[in-house]
Amino acid sequence: MATTVGHMETATGHTQATAAHPKAEGQQHPIAIYLWIWALLFVFSTFSYLIDYFHLHGLLRWSLIITFMLLKAGFIVAIFMHMAWERLALKFAILVPPLVLLILILLMAIEGDYTFLTRLTAFLR
């Protein structure tokens, strides 16, 4: 009797697991959302180009370039690559590891500055 109950639990658990898998259906969303994102990507790219065209400089140039870049990247990953609709486990597994790259970038920026200063002092000597 006990084993039968166990079997039934397994069977129920399995049904739930299958229901949680929308494998056959996949990622189906209204076409309008893609068209909107598509248009937005064009707008952001045009703005990025205009930053260069109008010779913006300094902090303004940089903050705008980075902002448009992150917006474009975010929309591509979230909507076009469907990450917004994936489960949190997959989001974490894919989006968290690249964050360690920020440390690499920081270290290499410091290293580059150091090399630059070393070269300057070597040339000035």
Binding site: Y34, F80, A89, T115, L120
Partner: protein, 230 residues
Amino acid sequence: MSESNVTPAEEPAAAPSGLTGVVSDWSGDKEAFHVPWGKAMMWIFLLSDTFIFTCFLTSYMNVRISTTVPWPNPSEVFALNIGGQHIPLILIAIMTMVLITSSGTMAMAVNYGYRRHRAYTAALMLITAGFGATFVGMQAFEWTKLITEGVRPWANPWGAPQFGSCFFMITGFHGLHVSAGVIYLSVVARRVWRGFYDQKGSYETVEITGLYWHFVDLVWVFIFAFFYLW
């Protein structure tokens, strides 16, 4: 309690050892990601590719910070004369638009795939591949122009010699990804056209192909910002 409709469960088998054990342990009903396995694998591949491209862009940043020679101005290097007008960075702007357009058509292809619209899916994928091929063609034009102007991986007429090595390495690797994507798209589009995924009962391969293609566009977003706009 009659269990006539309860299916008999399988006997719990003894855990196998050796290589079979490895396979059974890693696949033994312990699915972490509730997506088709191909999609999970594609994401993990793209994650590793992210690291590769970040290494390229980071090394580029490092040499650009550390050089004492002025860096060539990309706005001027990639300018074109169109109809007697000197337009800065125009080629790169067009290439960006081509790639974004191709990303849009790819998203449409995935959508029509899940609607089981075979002809639209195949056609949209081929259009995507066509835009990809256009992009590679424009890149070939850009390389030819720069090489005839004297840009080499070790030297160029305008400034820091590292410009050439960074340029050829980063855009070359990205161009290879686009070329591979064009082939990948063509193969899958052919299968869509022949009804392979209707027989299989799932169009998830189209979405997985789309993931790769959108990633190629994604990488270009970063190259555009850091290499061309800096």
